[in-house]
């Protein structure tokens, strides 16, 4: 294995590991609280699989406001969590956790997909 491939692979898998732990923590603290709250429980977005609302909430809290506003304008807005409502019921700690979790998760899986594509094209051979 080429050194750069090795470093990318090991770091992305490490990041994925940490992000999955954060996934559980974020689900157990922030999302659990929001699921119980009658004002927010209908605004967590669609659950494609059990636990997908954790991803929706983390995405809504972590993405910049202008992007969230753009999502809201779409007719499919109910697919993702409503950031405006969630903002009122979460604190800075929730936001930071969401940013770290989603950041690590998207970084690591994105790198893995990139590696897979580069590997397919024989860049590392």
């Amino acid at each position: 294995m080429v050194k750069i491939e090795y470093i990318m692979l090991a770091s992305s898998m490490g990041a994925l590991f940490i992000s999955l732990i954060l996934f559980v923590i974020f689900g157990q603290t922030t999302v659990r609280k929001l699921r119980k709250n009658p004002e927010t429980k209908d605004d967590l977005g669609i659950e494609f699989a059990s636990g997908w609302d954790i991803l929706n909430v983390a995405g809504a809290l972590a993405l910049p406001r202008w992007l969230n506003r753009k999502f809201r304008k779409s007719r499919l807005a109910s697919l993702c969590a409503n950031a405006e409502v969630l903002d009122k019921h979460t604190n800075t700690f929730d936001r930071i956790l969401a940013i770290i979790f989603i950041g690590l998760f998207y970084f690591s899986t994105g790198t893995l997909i990139l590696l897979m594509i580069l590997d397919k094209f024989g860049v590392f051979d």
């Binding site: 494609f48 997909i113 897979m116």
Partner: protein, 324 residues
């Protein structure tokens, strides 16, 4: 290799010797070391000096619903084709991580449909077989039905059938019941009652059993099923004295990575849909299919990539720990 004998009517020792030259002394049933008569729909091991693997394969195939299905399938398609079909359906189930979320309905429907089409072709062949033997008046109609079922299977599942056929061509030049309906009808008419399955591995056996059960997978069950098969491959490695810790590391990593890659693709696709298209639910349906396909491809790709390359990382970590 384990040789499994299956039959659909009772065979006495003499009849067995006369029809296929097998000696009952060489047969072992589950909990029945030396059967005097073969019972229908019960698998028997053929051969002496049986290993633990042979016995565990036999044990897996013994439950009646499984063995009945496998017997019927082997008799109407031929033993090699049954093995090929089981393998294909196991391959299809590998898509399951890609099936999470939007893609669930799409691919689950496909697997179910494929299994269903094969099954209805099979039952049409069995019906034809019954008509030839007992109701000659219905023969032509049953033949027509089997051909129709064959055509449905070919048209609906071209991709899947081409994989089966590629394997089947290697097995027989005359074609097989799965490539050629005439051959299927001939085999059904010849009314064989006994079949032999040559099983070369545990994995093949468990594929067969799963195929026999024709289980349905939906929603969250998918991740559970996928993890189940991964645990199975770790357990195989453990039983065969392999480096199972290493396999566990690779299997669990590739599970996480491929699921993650699928999720990322789905989310990215949906975000694109939300921002870029003015279309509403119609856009979701069309875009959803595209996203589902891409997600499936991505997660399968990442799964393979991790399985190929992550062993090296494990070896390095172990060396690093040992050097301390």
């Amino acid at each position: 290799m384990s040789e499994i004998i299956l039959c659909n009517k009772p065979f006495s020792a003499n009849a067995l010797d006369a029809s296929c030259g097998l000696n009952t002394d060489d047969l072992t049933g589950f909990g029945d070391a030396n059967p005097s008569t073969l019972r229908p729909y019960l698998p028997y091991l053929y051969g002496q000096n049986l290993t633990a693997t042979d016995k565990s394969i036999l044990c897996q195939m013994t439950p009646l619903p499984v063995s009945r299905e496998l017997t019927n399938m082997s008799l109407s398609f031929g033993a090699d084709n049954t093995l090929a079909l089981a393998e294909i359906s196991a391959k299809l189930q590998e898509y399951n991580i890609g099936m999470m979320g939007t893609s669930t309905a799409f691919y689950a429907g496909r697997i179910e449909g494929f299994g269903g089409a094969v099954k209805s072709y099979q039952s049409a062949l069995l019906e034809y077989r019954d008509a030839v033997k007992n109701k000659p008046a219905l023969k032509a109609a049953a033949k027509q039905k089997a051909r129709a079922a064959f055509n449905r299977m070919q048209q609906g599942f071209r991709t899947e059938m081409s994989i089966v056929n590629a394997r089947a061509r290697a097995l027989s030049r005359r074609g097989t019941p799965l490539t050629n309906p005439t051959r299927g009808l001939n085999i059904a008419r010849s009314s064989r009652n006994i079949a032999k399955l040559n099983i070369t591995s545990q994995v093949q056996a468990s594929n067969l059993v799963k195929f026999g059960k024709q289980a349905k997978f939906f929603g969250n069950g998918l991740a559970v099923i996928d993890f189940g098969s991964r645990i199975g491959s770790i357990h195989n490695s453990y039983q065969s004295g392999g480096n199972w810790e290493r396999d566990m590391f690779i299997e669990s990593s590739s599970f996480a990575a491929s699921a993650g890659a699928g999720i990322l693709t789905i989310n990215a696709g949906l975000a694109l849909l939300l921002v870029a298209t003015p279309a509403g639910w119609v856009g979701l349906v069309l875009g959803g299919i595209a996203i589902a396909g891409t997600a499936a491809v991505t997660s399968i790709g990442v799964n393979h990539y991790i399985k190929e390359s992550f062993g090296e990382v494990y070896d390095d970590i172990m060396n690093w720990i040992r050097s301390w």
